[in-house]
């Protein structure tokens, strides 16, 4: 947990995103302490992905700010501390799974990654496909490859957007376990999902509707489905 001197894992202040007249995210003030497990829920277009992408530094806020462990989103320090797993995996067509892992680890200055890579590949059932090109994979296998890449590198904050799409039940269970392991190791985990079964597993739930926060609290207190419409 964060101490008074320690910056929060994720902190937004008046964070807004608008595309012309269309407001995708109304001013959001959100503080996620270090080590917390948080889930973002809301219907399509509610602003979950926009919020995560702004935290990851992929989208620029129209107004307000977002900080990762005290560093502005998108800065070198923020990028070093944050791992973002998008809803659609984006991989190189001409690199094998192992090559993806190797270069990801080198780009993030990861150490002793080989053993962890073996473990992750085993957990997600990719060992046999490690030398294959992801361009020949199904959607689910590509998603598993992206999960390995998100977890193999060092991070203090894990942002995950709709992680269960395309995953088979064993893959989904394995990924939930891996996120639990990351949280147990001290990482902050923020997951945007439509899977209500996962909501019960986390410390905090934030519900968004039409770009605005409509609920922020423990997941068991309210019927989230009615909140998000």
């Amino acid at each position: 947990m964060a101490t008074p001197n320690q910056p929060h894992a994720l902190a937004t202040s008046g964070l807004t995103k608008a595309y012309g007249d269309l407001v995708a995210l109304e001013p959001v003030d959100l503080v996620v302490p270090d080590g917390q497990r948080l889930v973002l829920v809301g219907h399509n277009g509610s602003g979950k992905t926009t919020l995560l992408r702004m935290a990851a530094g992929l989208l620029e806020p129209s107004d307000g700010s977002v900080e990762i462990f005290g560093a502005p989103a998108g800065s070198d320090d923020a990028r070093a501390a944050l791992s973002y797993l998008p809803d659609s995996p984006v991989l190189y067509d001409d690199l094998s799974v192992l090559e993806h892992i190797e270069y990801t680890c080198r780009l993030h200055d990861a150490e002793d990654w080989e053993d962890r890579a073996v473990g992750l590949l085993t957990d997600l059932g990719l060992t046999e496909r490690a030398d294959d090109l992801p361009s020949r994979f199904s959607r689910g296998l590509r998603q598993k490859t992206a999960i390995v890449l998100a977890l193999i590198r060092p991070f203090g904050l894990l942002l995950v957007d709709e992680p269960f799409v395309g995953l088979d039940p064993p893959g989904r269970d394995a990924f939930i376990e891996l996120m639990d392991d990351a949280a147990a190791a001290g990482a902050t985990v923020v997951v945007a999902t439509h899977q209500m079964e996962y909501v019960a597993k986390v410390d905090r739930c934030v519900a968004l509707r039409d770009g605005a926060v409509v609920y922020d609290g423990p997941p068991g207190d309210v019927d989230v489905l009615t909140l998000v419409g």
């Binding site: 989208l59 620029e60 990028r79 998008p86 080198r106 780009l107 200055d109 890449l149």
Partner: protein, 565 residues
């Protein structure tokens, strides 16, 4: 101190990692590299380029310009070439305001730009590669222009070739460098467009005032070195070097949001281009430059416009021309930049027509090309309908008739574009009466031919993955058909400028204007044939399909009687 050393060491390690990453990818891509096929491609490209140069050289002709004309070219040439380069710089600056020109792969955005690797380290190589490619492409185009200039102007062949290549090889990367500077410094859309307009205006002032003050005119001066060497050209070279260096230095500040958007759109554009799907390329290019329809239309379509022939009190009568009305609704929401682009294209066509009349024949293709591109913009209401085939299914009228009606408002717009061209021609010639007269003769056929070419392109759509017609044709004929699909639409637009070509050769008793007017009817006939093709295309295809099915049925052996031996 230790922190700085650590950071530098990480940057060096990152650079090595990125180099290894690119090497690994290149190795993978070249695993299936077929040397014989590559040599064959180079051979084919060389043959095609050789033929293009030979044809263009032949069209330009060998007739040398007189001393007076050559002196005029040496005096005015830098400003003219500078104006073209200035326009290119303006396009670059505008692109920079929208996050261009860097195109980074989507995977690089996700894996490299989201890693803690310094952006300067990550982006310098792709930026350098883009500058290098721009320099090579520009040098090639410049060398070709130099070759064509050598055919008619005094001066040595190597000098024209070298100066052309130097100007092209500098102008394109300078434009790219300016764009990188604007995008890296986050000047923004309005700032980029304003800077572009200022640079283009500066060159235009040089052209009008016959001065040499803008960097683009400095570079234009280099192009004319074979006629007259002036030191001022070196300033253009220096400005180019500075712009490229500044662009490279600024590239780290590029917006990741813009980079990701461009990565996705450029990938789609390349894919659409490989499928020869021009319409998709046009639509994606508009998305790339964030060209959106206006929320508030420029004008409301009045009922009298909806029902132009009989102005009656009955309100219901306005509903009698829904297609005409729909076209104007679409045009009323064109963004301002689209109207501006069409006006510029009209002006280019007008200026090229003057040059064609004066003897620079190849610009005839540029004039037609400009009207074709303007036509692709003007034809948008029809293209929108073609893009939504499900809507066609709900209409009661024949598709061909509806398409022809849809072209009406676009023709009106294109006539306005042609009028801009005529005004430009008059301005370029200093208000010559002949320019007015020939311009008025050419305006309508050029506008109609531009719409005709664009209509063919839109109506024929992208080539089908499997075409039953192609399947029945011999491979040679199918190949020719594929080429025709690409060549015919712009060729129709180019035909609109035949009257300008003919006007150059007045015969005894027939003036230039009379000669031009004499070929207007054949040009209109070509446009009418396009109209007939649009009108009866569906019926002809249905007839052809039915005939082929009938022929196949007739060829089938009769069914064997049951139980027979």
């Amino acid at each position: 101190m230790a922190a700085i050393a650590e950071e530098t060491s990480f940057d060096q390690a990152s650079a090595i990692t990125l180099a290894d990453l690119r090497r690994a990818r290149r190795r993978r891509r070249t695993e299936d590299f077929d040397v014989a096929e590559a040599v064959y491609r180079v051979y084919i490209t060389a043959v095609v380029l050789g033929i293009a140069v030979w044809v263009l050289s032949g069209v330009v002709g060998d007739q040398r310009l007189g001393a007076a004309t050559a002196a005029k070219a040496a005096s005015r040439g830098p400003q003219v070439v500078g104006a073209v380069i200035g326009l290119g710089f303006a396009v670059g600056l505008r692109s920079g305001g929208r996050g261009g020109p860097l195109v980074i792969e989507a995977a690089d955005v996700r894996h490299v730009l989201l890693s803690p690797v310094a952006r300067a380290v990550a982006l310098r190589r792709p930026a350098l590669r883009q500058l290098r490619f721009g320099a090579a492409a520009g040098a090639g185009a410049g060398a070709l222009a130099g070759l064509l200039a050598y055919r008619r102007l005094p001066g040595g062949f190597p000098a024209w070739l070298a100066c052309g290549a130097l100007v092209g090889g500098l102008a394109v990367p300078t434009g790219l460098g300016l764009a990188m500077m604007v995008s890296g410094r986050r000047v923004g859309r309005i700032g980029g467009a304003a800077l572009g307009a200022a640079v283009a205006a500066w060159s235009a002032v040089d052209l009008a005032a016959h001065t040499t003050t803008s960097p683009a005119t400095f570079l234009g001066d280099v192009a004319l070195w074979p006629l007259k060497f002036r030191l001022v050209g070196l300033a253009g070279v220096a400005v180019g070097a500075v712009a490229m260096s500044a662009g490279l230095a600024s590239v780290a500040g590029v917006s990741i949001e813009a980079a990701e958007r461009r990565a996705s759109l450029v990938g789609q554009i390349r894919f659409a281009a490989t499928l020869r799907d021009l319409r998709t390329v046009v639509v994606l290019r508009r998305q790339l430059s964030q060209e959106q329809p206006r929320q508030t239309p420029w004008f409301r379509v009045p009922r009298s416009l909806a029902y132009p022939l009989q102005r009656g009190p009955a309100a219901g009568q306005a509903r009698r021309f829904p297609v005409w009305r729909r076209g104007w609704h679409g045009i009323a929401r064109f963004p301002g930049v689209r109207f501006l682009r069409m006006a510029v294209l009209g002006a280019v066509a007008g200026a090229c027509s003057v040059a064609v009349y004066r003897g620079t024949t190849p610009l005839f293709l540029v004039a037609g090309g400009a009207m074709y591109v303007a036509g692709l913009d003007a034809i948008e209401p029809m293209a929108q309908e073609v893009d939504h085939p499900d809507r066609w299914e709900s209409y009661t009228g024949e598709r061909g008739i509806l398409l022809l009606r849809q072209a009406g408002p676009s023709i009106v717009v294109m006539v306005a574009v042609a009028v801009v061209g005529v005004a430009t021609a008059v301005a370029v010639t200093g208000g010559a009466a002949l320019a007015w007269k020939i311009g008025l003769v050419v305006a309508l056929p050029a506008a109609l031919a531009g719409v005709g070419g664009a209509t063919i392109s839109v109506v024929q759509g992208a080539p089908a993955a499997f075409s039953s017609t192609d399947a029945m044709l011999p491979p040679e004929a199918a190949g020719a058909r594929a080429i025709a699909r690409i060549v015919v639409p712009p060729a129709v637009a180019v035909i609109g400028f035949v009257p300008v070509l003919v006007a150059r050769h007045p015969s005894k008793g027939i003036s230039s204007v009379g000669a031009a007017a004499g070929v207007v009817a054949p040009v209109l006939l070509v446009v009418a044939l396009v109209g007939l093709w649009v009108r009866y295309r569906d019926a002809a295809r249905a007839w052809f399909k039915a005939a082929m099915e009938e022929a196949n049925t007739a060829r089938k052996p009769p069914a064997r009687p049951a139980g027979g031996h």
